[in-house]
Amino acid sequence: MVKLKKYNGFLKLFVIFLTLFFITSCSQKNYNLTKIEGKQLPITEKEAETPAMENFIKPYRDHINKDLDSILAYCPENLDKSTGKWQTSIGNLLADVCIERGNIVFKAREKKSIDLCFLNHGGIRAILPKGNVTTRTAYEIMPFENNLVVIALKGQQILEMTSYIIKEKKPHPLSGMTFTIAKDNTAKNILIQGKPLDVNKVYYVATNDYLANGGDSMTFFAKGVEKFDLNYKLRNVLIDYFKSVDTIPVAKDIRITEE
C-alpha cells in the first residue's frame, strides 16, 4: 500500500510534467518567417535538356513542322509591304483575298455580298517571299488570331475612311474601292465596285475585328449600322486561299492615285 501511494504521487508529478510539456512545446505555434532570398534564374543553353521532356515534345513538334512546311502554292516574286506609297502588292493581295474568301461565308449566311475591304498596313507582319508558299508563311504574315468581320457602313463613313487614309499616308490594304487624292487633300472620283459613292447607301466593308473595335484609331467603324462576325480567322482566310491557287497573282493595279 505504502509503495503504491508513493508511486501514485510520482505518477501525478509525471502527468503534470507531460501536460506542461504539451502546452509549452507542442501547442500549435506558428512559424516565424526570418529570412527571404529572391533571385531570377535565366534559362539559357547552359541548362541541360531533359530527355524525357524532349521525347515527349518531339512528336508534337514534328507534326507541326510537317504541316507548317507543307507547300500550298508558288509565289512568282517578293510581295513586300514596304514598296509602295498608297498601295502595295501584298496589301492588294490580302484585301482581294478577304473579299473572295469572306464572300463565301457572307453570301451563304447573310445572302449579301462584300463591297470593299479595308485593313491596316501594320497588320501585315512579314513579306510573302518568292518561291514556295507554306502554312508557315501564313503564320508569319498573320500571327494574330483576328477574325474577319463585315461592318455595314453608310457612305458618309466611307468618306471618313478616305480622310483617314489621306491623313495617315500609309498604304493600307484596300480592295473593291478606288479614289483619287485631289490637290486639296480630299478624296474624289470615289468608286465602289466600279460605281460612284452614294453617301446615303449602306456598304458592306470587310475588315478585322481589331480594327472594327476601333484599333489604330479607325473610329469610323464604330459608326457602323450592323456588324457580322464571320468567325473566320484572317490567317485561315490566307491558308485557304493559298490552298485554292497554284501561283499567287501579283496585283499591281493602282487603287489610290494622286492628282
Binding site: 518567417l33 534559362i43 515534345i57
Partner: protein
C-alpha cells in the same frame, strides 16, 4: 522493495530526461526552408528561341526549365512551383493543340498551381475546359466567378499547401475582362474587385487559417504608367495587408530583382515577375523557425 523503487525512479527520471532533451532539440534545430519557383506569361513557348532570334537568342525552353527545376528539387525538395497565367497563345503549339501540350508539360514538371490569364480564354471557356483533363495542377483565381459557366468548380478561390509543416495559403487575382477579352470567350464569368477580394482572402488565410505564408498569384499586371488609376500589383501591395509575396504577370515585366513594397500595416511585401516566354525562372527562398525570440523581429530580405 528498495531495489524495485530505485528502478522505477530511475526509469521515470530517464524518461523525463530524454523528454527534456528532445524538447530542447525540437526548439533549437527546427528551421524550415521553403523554395518558391515561378513563371508567368509563358505563352506556349515550348521550344527555346532560335539562335538567330533578334531579341531572345537561345533563351527559354521547357526542357531546360524542367532540368533547372529538377536540380533545385535535389537541393531542397520543399518546393512550391507556381505560374501566374497566360499559359496559352503565342506559338503554333497553341494553334494546333489548344494548350494540351502546355498543360501536359507543366504537369510533368509538377507545377502545384496556376492562376488564369486573359489569354487563357483565347479558345473560349469551352477551349479552356477541354484542356482541364491534361492538368494535374490546381487553377486558383479568387476574383473570377465561374459559377454560371462550364468552368464552375474547376477553379479554386484559394488553396492551402502544407509544405513540410509550413502552411502556405495561395489565392489568385485575374485582370478585368471587359474590353480585353472578347465577351464570346468569357461569357458569364464575373470579374470582382481585386482589392476587396484580396482583403477577404488574407482575412481567411492569415487570420482564420493561420497560414505561415500568404502568396497572391496575380495576373493584374505590375504597373501601368499611362493609367495610374488602374489596379496593379504595386498598388495591391500598398492597399492590403498580410500578403507576403505577390507573383505577378500580364505586363511581361522584367525586373532585376523582386520589388519590396510597404503594405497598409507598414510591413514588407515582395512583388515579383519574371518577364515572359519562359526566359526566366523566379526563385524566392523563405526560411522559418519557431524561436519565440524571432516572432516580433523584422525579417531580413536579401534580394
Amino acid at each position: 522493495m528498495k531495489r524495485r523503487e530505485f528502478i522505477e525512479k530511475t526509469a521515470a527520471s530517464t524518461a523525463l530526461l530524454s523528454l527534456g532533451l528532445s524538447l530542447s532539440s525540437f526548439e533549437t534545430n527546427d528551421i524550415k526552408h521553403l523554395t518558391i519557383l515561378h513563371t508567368n506569361d509563358v505563352h506556349s513557348h515550348i521550344d527555346p528561341f532560335p539562335a538567330d532570334d533578334p531579341r531572345n537568342p537561345n533563351k527559354g525552353g521547357v526542357s531546360r526549365r524542367a532540368a533547372l527545376i529538377e536540380t533545385i528539387r535535389q537541393e531542397n525538395p520543399n518546393v512550391l512551383l507556381l505560374d501566374a497565367g497566360d499559359i496559352f497563345q503565342g506559338t503554333p503549339y497553341f494553334n494546333y493543340y489548344g494548350g494540351e501540350l502546355e498543360f501536359k508539360l507543366m504537369s510533368m514538371m509538377k507545377y502545384d498551381a496556376s492562376t488564369i490569364g486573359n489569354h487563357d480564354f483565347d479558345n473560349g471557356l469551352d477551349g479552356l475546359y477541354a484542356q482541364m483533363p491534361h492538368a494535374s495542377f490546381e487553377f486558383i483565381c479568387s476574383n473570377y466567378d465561374f459559377k454560371n459557366t462550364v468552368m464552375n468548380g474547376l477553379v479554386k478561390p484559394y488553396k492551402i499547401f502544407n509544405k513540410n509543416g509550413i502552411k502556405v495559403g495561395v489565392f489568385g487575382l485575374g485582370i478585368e475582362l471587359a474590353g480585353l477579352v472578347d465577351k464570346q470567350n468569357y461569357k458569364e464569368t464575373v470579374y470582382n474587385d481585386p482589392v476587396e477580394i484580396a482583403q477577404d482572402m488574407t482575412q481567411l488565410l492569415k487570420k482564420e487559417e493561420k497560414c505561415d505564408l500568404v502568396i497572391c498569384l496575380s495576373h493584374i499586371g505590375y504597373k501601368y504608367k499611362d493609367d495610374a488609376s488602374k489596379i496593379c500589383d504595386l498598388k495591391l501591395a500598398e492597399l492590403t495587408q498580410d500578403i507576403d509575396l505577390i507573383i505577378g504577370g500580364h505586363t511581361h515585366t522584367f525586373l532585376d530583382k523582386p520589388t519590396v513594397v510597404k503594405n497598409k500595416a507598414g510591413q514588407d511585401v515582395l512583388v515579383n515577375q519574371v518577364g515572359c516566354y519562359g526566359i526566366n525562372l523566379g526563385r524566392i527562398d523563405f526560411y522559418f523557425d519557431k524561436d519565440k525570440a524571432h516572432s516580433n523581429q523584422g525579417r531580413s530580405i536579401v534580394v
